[in-house]
Each structure stands twice: as structure tokens, then as C-alpha cells.
Amino acid sequence: MSKPAGKFVGLGAFAAVSLILGAGLGSVYISPAGILRALFGGGDDSTRALVLSLRLPRVALAFLTGAALAAGGTVMQSALENPLASPFGLGVSAGAGLGASAAMVAGASGGVLGALVMPAAGFVGAIVAVLLALGLARVFDKRVSGVTVVLTGMVLSLFFSAIMDLMSALNPEYAQRIGLWQMGSFAAKGLRGVLILGPVLAVCLFIFIARAPELDLLTFGDEQARSMGLDPGRSRRSLIITVAVLTGTAVAFSGVIGFVDLVAPHVARRIFGARHRVTLPAAAILGGSFMTLCDLAARTVASPREIPVGAVTALMGAPFFMYVFFRKGAR
């Protein structure tokens, strides 16, 4: 077995363990055999209902969201030649947050319709923010260089966050909900999110992996990329828009969850190397597994209370990221 293949087997085992733990642990323990039985229609009714209606959709959504954010982070870091770049830095989170907040304040977040309007508003906000960042970058710099994109994204994020703060201040009755949405959660958002995010993730991952050689070239900077036959501006724009669609869909269901998009790509590169055709799927599986475990912690650590999963990813991700990033720098 080749080296990367062996590592992928290990990664697959890690993902399987995180999924089994996520589906099995909680207020009621369900054994791996019990989960399998429920999956194939066996076992008692209450266990089957718990597994199929609550645990599995939630675990699947957490996994898909983590995978989407990690894949998006990997692409952003390479497309912008910046190891600290992330979809959130480009305005995805601020845009989604603003869209969702606007929907709440407009009174469109309640009832059955609200369950559809909120993700849609978040998604539209994320896409608008990224398109605006790219559009502004193009106005300032016709070549759409990485630095310009990062800077316009940063400024727009701050601007959108300020509008969101203003909305919270002027509508105090929504302030807590807006704050909670920004911290992210997978509670009670199961199957619909899985059915939408799953296909979007599959298509976007396919696009990223197919275009992996472009990402490899972009990491060497615009001049080198162009010298080797790539149009870096065009390539970067279309890749970033794909990232915006993917991560916008993810945060639309879960809210903003940081650090996975930053940590997973770095860990994947340390284990699998820099080549995107290998490291992209690896980062996605790692991000998915990490998110599943973080969500497990979010709902079990302070049970019966649930803590925001965004807080868990930051608490676990920040020190881990420092370790991975600075250990690399020290070498």
C-alpha cells in the first residue's frame, strides 16, 4: 500500500470513530451495533427514532459542515497565498450573519417559513459579501491579486459586522438570538441541511479536486503561476466564488463556526503534504471528523445544557492551531 493510501486508511478510521461516537454518545448511550441495527430498520422503536431522526442527521450535518469549511479554507489559503486566509476572512461569516440578522429583525425568522428563510438569507448574505469583496478588489486592482482580495474582504467583514452590531443595538429583543446564531449550532437542523449541503459539498469538492493543479500553481504567486501558463486572476475569482457557494450553504444551516477552516488545512498539509489533489480530500475528512467531535462535546460536556459549537471549535482549535503553526515555523 502506498504511503498516502495508508494515511487515508488511518484518516478513514478516525472519521468512522468520530461518527460512531457522535451517533452513540449523548443523553442515551447507543452501542455501535445498536446504531447499525437502527440503520437497517432493526432494534426498538425509540432507539431507531433517536438514531434516525435526531443523532444521525445531526452528526451528518456536523460532518458535512466541517468538511465544507475545511475544504473552503484549504482553497482560500492557497488561492490567496496566505496561510491565515479563510472563507470567513473574506466576508462569508459577516455576510451570512448580516443576512440572517436582517431576516430576524424583519420578523421573517418564525414558524415553518422562518426555517426556510433564515438559511436562505444567510446564504444570500454570504454570496453578496464575497461578490462585493471580489468586485471591489477588481476596481482597485485589475489583476485581482491575493493581497487586494484579502484586504477588501477584511474591510467589508468589519463593515458588515458593524451593521450587524447596529441592528442588535437598535433591536435589543433580537440581540441574543443574533449573538447565538453567530456562535453556530447543529441543534434541530438535521435532515434538510444534510439533503442540501451534501450535494453542494460533493459538487464543489469535485470542482476543487479537478482544479487542484491550478491551486498548486497559485501558491507560488501570480507571477510564477502566470509564467507556468495560468491566468491567476480568473482562476482565483472562480475558485473563490465556488468557496462562497459552499461555505455560504454551510453557515446558512449551522451559523458561524470558526477555526475548522483554519486548522484542518494546516493539519492535512502536515500529514499529506501540500499537493491539493491529496490534501484537499484529506482536509475535508479531517474537518468533518473534528467538527463531529466538537459537536459531541458541545452537547455532552455541560449536559443537559448545550454550549455553542463555535465556542468549542475555537477553544480546541486555537491552542492546536498555535501548536501546529508555530512548530512548523520553528523548524
Binding site: S78, E81, P83, K142, R143, I209, A210, P213, D216, L217, T219, F220, D222, E223, Q224, R226, S227, M228, G229, L230, D231, R269, G273, A274, R275, R277, R331
Partner: protein, 255 residues
């Protein structure tokens, strides 16, 4: 091979180059000389397509602007100064990337056996084959630049543009790099345009000189036709006297 006519360009409203014209024939090695800020690197960046320009640039009669980025990548390659690498690709992965413009278009295309053979040959020739699995982030500046040279050769271009490729290299590597590049340009259908920080190295490499003054061509012709007075005017100092002094200093050390 390359015909540049009235090329003008700049950054935003600031014009850096005005009406530069020259031709580059097969096996020719043209070096661009001039003080800092005169537009040497800007000219290379315009040729490689990073900066838009006015005027015409033709490669074997075909206007450069009508070529796609991949077509251009098959014919022109640029070797710049590299002192550090950002992502931990292995040496072999880094060199193989240069085959991108030659890969067939389509999803999931990747370098084939012929591309690998080319990369292997260049790595072996530059004595880097033993390092092929090492991450480039772990290489010294000199080793990294040799990897980039191997990558530029693996791209199989017709013309190589050199942007101060010997900066950060010690003397041995500088001499080796210039030797390799000279030998590369001597093969059929090849030529080079270069900018070197070191005048000695530049004149050792070149057979033709383009002397630039404030974004315009002050001299274009063979190295032997270059006059000390022109160099001194453009650089704002007695260049020949300075070089002679330093040569005398070195001669004191003996052989």
C-alpha cells in the same frame, strides 16, 4: 523569435516604459542593464503577461496578446529570485508543476510518464534527484533556486525570462546557474532575456545588451559595442573605473 515594437507600460497612471523595441533571435542572450527603478523587471513582467502593455510583442510572428495563458506558458517561462517557499511541496512535485501548460485540457489531467521523465532528467542533470522527496521549505536558498531552475527547464519553453535569478546565491551557485543557462540557450530554438544585479555576471551571460535610462532604451546592440561613457551616464557614476578598481583589488589576492 521574439519581436518587441514600441512597448510602453506602467502601473496605474505612472508610465514606466516608453517605446521599447528590440528583437531576439534563436540562441541569443539579451541582458537588460540599468539602475534601480529604470523598468528592467517591469519589461520582463510585461512580457510574461503580469502587466498589460501598449505596442506589439510577437513570438514567431504571432501577437503575444492573442495567445491564451497556457499557450504563452508553453513558449515563455520566467525564473525569478527565490529565497523562501511558502507551501511544503516536495522537490519533484514542484518541478512537475511546470508541465501544467503542456497537459491536455480536461478534468483530472495530470503529468504522464513523459512529463515525469523530463522532470527526472532535469533533476538528475542538476544533481537534485537525491532530494526529490524533500519538502522545498527545508531547502537552502541556493538549493531552492536550483530546483526552480530545474522547473524552468522542465517547462520546456522557447524563451526564458530571468529576473535577477542569482540574487541570494553564493558565488559557486551563481557561476553554476549562469553556466547552465548559457548551455541551455545554445540548444536549437532557444533564447533568453535577463536582468542581473551583478554587472560582471550580466556581461558574462549576455551577447546583446539593452541599456535602459528612465524607461527608454539608451543602447541596444552587442556587448562589445557598449561604451563606458553610456554606462557611466546611465548609472550616474564612473562604472568602468569602479570595476577596474575592484578588479585590481582582487588581483592582489593572486591565483
Amino acid at each position: 523569435m521574439l519581436k518587441v515594437e514600441n512597448l510602453s507600460c506602467g502601473y496605474g497612471d505612472r508610465q514606466v516604459l516608453r517605446d521599447i523595441s528590440f528583437t531576439l533571435a534563436e540562441n541569443q542572450r539579451l541582458v537588460i542593464l540599468g539602475p534601480n527603478g529604470c523598468g528592467k523587471t517591469t519589461l520582463l513582467r510585461a512580457l510574461v503577461g503580469v502587466i498589460p502593455f501598449e505596442g506589439t510583442v510577437e513570438l514567431d510572428g504571432r501577437e503575444l496578446r492573442t495567445m491564451t495563458a497556457r499557450e504563452r506558458g508553453r513558449r515563455l517561462a520566467m525564473l525569478s529570485q527565490h529565497s523562501s517557499a511558502g507551501f511544503s511541496y516536495t522537490v519533484l512535485e514542484t518541478v512537475l508543476m511546470a508541465r501544467y501548460p503542456h497537459l491536455p485540457r480536461g478534468l483530472f489531467s495530470s503529468p504522464g510518464p513523459e512529463d515525469r521523465a523530463l522532470a527526472e532528467a532535469e533533476l538528475k542533470r542538476l544533481d537534485l534527484w537525491g532530494e526529490r522527496d524533500r519538502p522545498i521549505t527545508e531547502l537552502s536558498g541556493g538549493q531552492l533556486q536550483r530546483v526552480m531552475l530545474a522547473r524552468t527547464f522542465t517547462q520546456s519553453p522557447e524563451i526564458i525570462l530571468l529576473d535577477e535569478p542569482t540574487n541570494h546565491l553564493d558565488l559557486k551557485y551563481q557561476a553554476e546557474l549562469v553556466r547552465e543557462l548559457k548551455s541551455w540557450t545554445e540548444r536549437p530554438g532557444r533564447a533568453a532575456v535577463g536582468v542581473f544585479h551583478d554587472l560582471d555576471l550580466a556581461l558574462d551571460f549576455a551577447d546583446t545588451v539593452l541599456l535602459m535610462e528612465n524607461g527608454e532604451a539608451a543602447y541596444i546592440g552587442p556587448v562589445d559595442g557598449l561604451r563606458g561613457a553610456d554606462l557611466s551616464r546611465v548609472f550616474g557614476m564612473d562604472v568602468v573605473g569602479h570595476m577596474r578598481l575592484s578588479r585590481e583589488k582582487w588581483e592582489k589576492f593572486g591565483g
